[in-house]
C-alpha cells in the first residue's frame, strides 16, 4: 500500500480544492455560482465500451485540421507552436493526467477516453483544477478528448509527434472472440509506432497477468519497439503509472498485484527491399 510522493500531492491538491471550495461557497452566496467539484459516482458508468461500435466522435480529417486551442487555450495563446507530446490512451478518470501536469509542466498531455461520461468527469475535474490553481497557472497543460484511439490516432497526431504514450489498466477483454478489441495488437502497434517518435517510450501496466503477458509479448514481437528495464526510481512516470491512476489505487486497496512494462520506439530497420 505504498503511495508514491506524486500520488500524495495529487490527493493533497484535490482535498485542498475541496476546502477552498467550501470556504468560497460560504463567503459568496450571491456571487456567480462556483463550479462544484465533480463527483465521480455521477460519472460512473460500466467499465467496458465496444471500440468496434460506431459512436459519434468528433475527430479531425487530419492533424492539421484540429484546433487544439479549445484544449490548451492558455498555453497555446503563449506558445502557439506547441504540440501534444504525451498521450494517455484510455485515461479513465484522469488520475495520471493530473500527475503528469506537475511532473512535466512544459509538455502538453492529452487523455483519450472512449466513454462519454468519464470524459465529462475528467473535463470537469481539469476545469476545476485550473480554476483553483489559476494564480499558479497549473494544469493548463493537460486535457481530455473523447475519441476512439484504436481508430483515430492518425487523425489526431502527426507521424512521430508523441514522446510518451500510456496504456494503463486497459480492458482485459478476456473472451477469445474479443481479443481483437484489446488495445494492444500487432496491427495497432504499427499505428502506435507511427505516432511515437524514435526514442519515445510506451508504458503499459495491468493488474491482470494474462493481459500483461499479452501486451508484453506483442510489444516484444514488434520490430519497432525494444524493451527498457526501468525501476520506479529510474523514471518519474513509473510511480505515476503504479499509483496515480484510480485503477492503480483500487488495486492498492485490495492489495492486488500490478505488472508494468516500458518499451522504446526504435528506428525502423533500413528497408531491405528484397523484391528489388
Amino acid at each position: 500500500m505504498s503511495e508514491s510522493s506524486t500520488t500524495t500531492t495529487t490527493t493533497n491538491s484535490v482535498s485542498n480544492t475541496n476546502s477552498n471550495n467550501n470556504n468560497k461557497r460560504a463567503n459568496s452566496a450571491n456571487t456567480t455560482e462556483k463550479k462544484k467539484k465533480p463527483i465521480k459516482p455521477y460519472h460512473r458508468i460500466k467499465a467496458h465500451a465496444n471500440p468496434q461500435s460506431d459512436s459519434n466522435f468528433d475527430y479531425p480529417v487530419s492533424p492539421s485540421c484540429y484546433d487544439w486551442s479549445k484544449h490548451y487555450n492558455k498555453t497555446l495563446s503563449e506558445q502557439p507552436e506547441k504540440r501534444v507530446t504525451i498521450a494517455d490512451v484510455g485515461c479513465g478518470y484522469g488520475g495520471l493526467l493530473v500527475g503528469l501536469a506537475s511532473t512535466f509542466p512544459d509538455r502538453l498531455a492529452l487523455g483519450l477516453e472512449i466513454r462519454d461520461k468519464v470524459v465529462q468527469y475528467v473535463e470537469d475535474r481539469i476545469e476545476k483544477l485550473r480554476k483553483d490553481n489559476e494564480e499558479k497557472n497549473q494544469y493548463q497543460n493537460i486535457s481530455v478528448l473523447k475519441t476512439n484511439a484504436m481508430k483515430y490516432l492518425p487523425n489526431l497526431f502527426y507521424k512521430g509527434q508523441l514522446e510518451k504514450i500510456f496504456f494503463l489498466f486497459p480492458d482485459p477483454h478476456f473472451k477469445k472472440a474479443n481479443h481483437k478489441r484489446r488495445i494492444i495488437s500487432p496491427a495497432l502497434l504499427a499505428e502506435y509506432a507511427y505516432v511515437i517518435k524514435v526514442g519515445g517510450l510506451a508504458y503499459f501496466i495491468s493488474d491482470v497477468e494474462e493481459l500483461y503477458l499479452w501486451m508484453h509479448e506483442h510489444f516484444k514481437g514488434h520490430p519497432l519497439f525494444e524493451e527498457v528495464k526501468l525501476e520506479p526510481t529510474d523514471d518519474p512516470c513509473i510511480p505515476l503509472i503504479l499509483n496515480a491512476t484510480e485503477e492503480g489505487r483500487k488495486v492498492n486497496r485490495i492489495d492486488g498485484k500490478k505488472w508494468y512494462g516500458v518499451f522504446r520506439r526504435i528506428e525502423a530497420p533500413t528497408s531491405n527491399n528484397t523484391s528489388q
Binding site: 460506431d54 459512436s55 479531425p60 492518425p154 504499427a190 528497408s271
Partner: protein, 446 residues
C-alpha cells in the same frame, strides 16, 4: 474543422456469410428466417438486381494478350478472337496473373480458398489446377508481390495476410497489417516497395513492404469511406481515390498530400448520395463512374499543373461495375446486368472516345451457362459500395433483433441510454453503481 461522424459506418461484418453458405432456394421457411438476418435479401436496400450473371472478376495479361474473366463459377479466357472455358471453381471473387503470366491465381471468398492454375501447352485448353490452399479468411481481394512466392490476401474484417504459393495446402498465413475497420482496397505501389490499403474509416494507409509494420504515412482527407484508388501509370507518385463523400482526390501518396479534390456532387446533394469510383487512368486521362449512374466521366490531367480538366461525359448503355481492365487503348468495363439484354462487357476506346462494342461482341453474344441462383451474385455487393450507406440505415431500423450471433457488432446502447437519463434519476443510479465498486462494496458490508 472537426466533424461529427455520421452514423454511416457500421459495416460489412453484418453481412452474414453463414447465410450465403446455406443458400437453398427451395426451402421457403429457411428463406424467411434468412431474410431477417441477411441484409442483402432486403429488396429495398439492394440497388442492383441481376437478370443474368455479371462478370464478377476480370484481368488482362499483356504477356499472353488474353483477358480472363469469370461468369458464374466458370473462368473464361478471351484471346481477343475466341472464348474458352479455362477453369471452374465455386464462388470465384478475384483472379490475378503471376508476374510472368505462367499461372493464374483465383480466390474464393465463400469457401475461403485460393487456387493456383498453371498455364497449359495450348493456351486455349483448360488450365491445370496445381494447388488449392484453404485459408481461414473471407477473402476480399488479392495482390501479388514481386517475388512470385507469396500472395497477399485481404480479409473482410480488415486484416492483410501473406500466404506461400508453394504450399502446404492448409496455411495460417503471416499477418502483415491490420485496419480496425474493413479494408476496401489493397494495392502495391508500382515500385512494389509500399503496400497501400484503404478503409472504411476514410484513410489510405501507406505501409512499407516487406516491413509492413512500418507505416510510411496516411493519406487523410476523405470524410466518408474510401471506395477504391488507382495509380496513374505515367506518374507513379500519384493516386486517385474515390469515396462515399462524393469527391475524387488526387494524392501524392508518399507524402499524403492532396493535390486536388474534385467534388462530383450536384448542388444540394447530401454527402452520402454520391459514391465516386475511379476506374482507370489511360494516357493521363482519368475515367471514373458514379455508383448508380450509367455514365463515364472523363478528366484530363493537365501536363504542367497536374490539375484535372473535365472532358465530355460519355453515356453508357448500362451501369458499370467498379472494376475494369485496360487492353491497349481500350477500357473493358463489366456492367451491372440488370436486364437480360444488358451487355456483359463494355469496350470503350479511349483513342476515339467512343464505345467499341464490336471488340467484345464475342463475349456479349456468347451464351453462358445459366446461373440458377442469382442471389449468390449478391456477393458482388462486396465490390460495390452502396452497402456502407444502406446497411447503416437498416441497422437503425432493426437494432433490436441484431446481435444474436453477431460477433463483430455488438452494440453498446447502455452507454447512450445512460447519457439520456434525466438529472433526477442520476442520484439514485449513482448510489446503486457505487455499491458495485470495491469501495462501494466495503461501505455496504459496514
Amino acid at each position: 474543422m472537426a466533424r461529427t461522424k455520421q452514423t454511416v459506418r457500421k459495416l460489412a461484418p453484418a453481412m452474414k456469410p453463414k447465410n450465403n453458405n446455406k443458400e437453398n432456394n427451395d426451402n421457403k421457411e429457411n428463406n424467411v428466417k434468412k431474410e431477417k438476418n441477411n441484409h442483402y435479401n432486403d429488396q429495398t436496400l439492394i440497388p442492383y438486381n441481376f437478370a443474368k450473371a455479371p462478370i464478377s472478376t476480370i484481368q488482362y495479361s499483356s504477356v499472353l494478350n488474353i483477358v480472363v474473366f469469370s461468369v458464374g463459377d466458370i473462368l473464361y479466357s478471351f484471346n481477343l478472337s475466341s472464348l474458352n472455358e479455362i477453369a471452374q471453381n465455386e464462388s470465384l471473387n478475384s483472379v490475378s496473373f503471376t508476374h510472368d503470366s505462367s499461372a493464374i491465381i483465383t480466390t474464393a471468398s465463400k469457401v475461403k480458398t485460393f487456387t493456383i492454375w498453371k498455364k497449359p501447352q495450348n493456351i486455349n485448353d483448360k488450365w491445370i489446377q496445381s494447388l488449392q490452399v484453404s485459408t481461414k479468411l473471407k477473402i476480399l481481394s488479392s495482390v501479388l508481390p514481386k517475388d512470385n512466392k507469396t500472395i497477399i490476401l485481404t480479409d473482410k474484417t480488415g486484416d492483410v495476410l501473406s500466404y506461400k504459393l508453394d504450399g502446404p495446402d492448409n496455411q495460417d498465413g503471416t499477418e502483415l497489417l491490420g485496419h480496425f475497420s474493413a479494408i476496401t482496397d489493397t494495392q502495391f505501389s508500382p515500385c512494389y516497395n509500399y503496400l497501400l490499403t484503404s478503409d472504411r474509416d476514410e484513410k489510405i494507409r501507406v505501409s512499407n513492404y516487406p516491413n509492413t509494420f512500418d507505416i510510411n504515412n496516411f493519406c487523410l482527407g476523405h470524410t466518408l469511406f474510401v471506395s477504391k484508388f488507382i495509380f496513374n501509370p505515367s506518374k507513379p507518385e500519384i493516386i486517385v481515390s474515390g469515396s462515399g463523400d462524393g469527391t475524387v482526390k488526387v494524392w501524392n501518396w508518399k507524402s499524403g498530400e492532396v493535390l486536388q479534390s474534385l467534388d462530383l456532387k450536384q448542388a444540394g446533394q447530401a454527402v452520402d448520395e454520391v459514391i465516386t469510383l475511379p476506374l482507370a487512368i489511360v494516357n493521363n486521362t482519368l475515367y471514373l463512374s458514379i455508383e448508380g449512374k450509367s455514365s463515364l466521366y472523363c478528366y484530363k490531367f493537365n501536363g504542367e499543373t497536374n490539375n484535372l480538366e473535365q472532358l465530355p461525359t460519355v453515356d453508357l448503355p448500362a451501369q458499370p461495375l467498379s472494376y475494369c481492365v485496360v487492353v491497349g487503348s481500350r477500357l473493358l468495363v463489366p456492367t451491372i446486368t440488370s436486364e437480360e439484354s444488358t451487355p456483359l462487357l463494355l469496350a470503350f476506346d479511349t483513342a476515339t472516345n467512343s464505345l467499341d462494342q464490336a471488340f467484345v461482341e464475342k463475349i456479349n453474344t456468347h451464351s453462358f451457362a445459366p446461373v440458377n441462383n442469382l442471389q449468390s451474385f449478391k456477393f458482388l455487393m462486396k465490390i460495390q459500395y452502396k452497402k456502407y450507406l444502406t446497411l447503416n440505415k437498416r441497422e437503425k431500423a432493426d437494432s433490436k433483433d441484431d446481435g444474436e450471433d453477431d460477433e463483430e457488432q455488438e452494440d453498446e446502447p447502455e452507454v447512450q441510454e445512460e447519457v439520456k437519463e434525466d438529472e433526477d434519476s442520476k442520484d439514485e443510479k449513482a448510489i446503486k453503481l457505487r455499491k458495485m465498486t470495491v469501495e462501494g462494496a466495503k461501505e455496504q458490508t459496514k
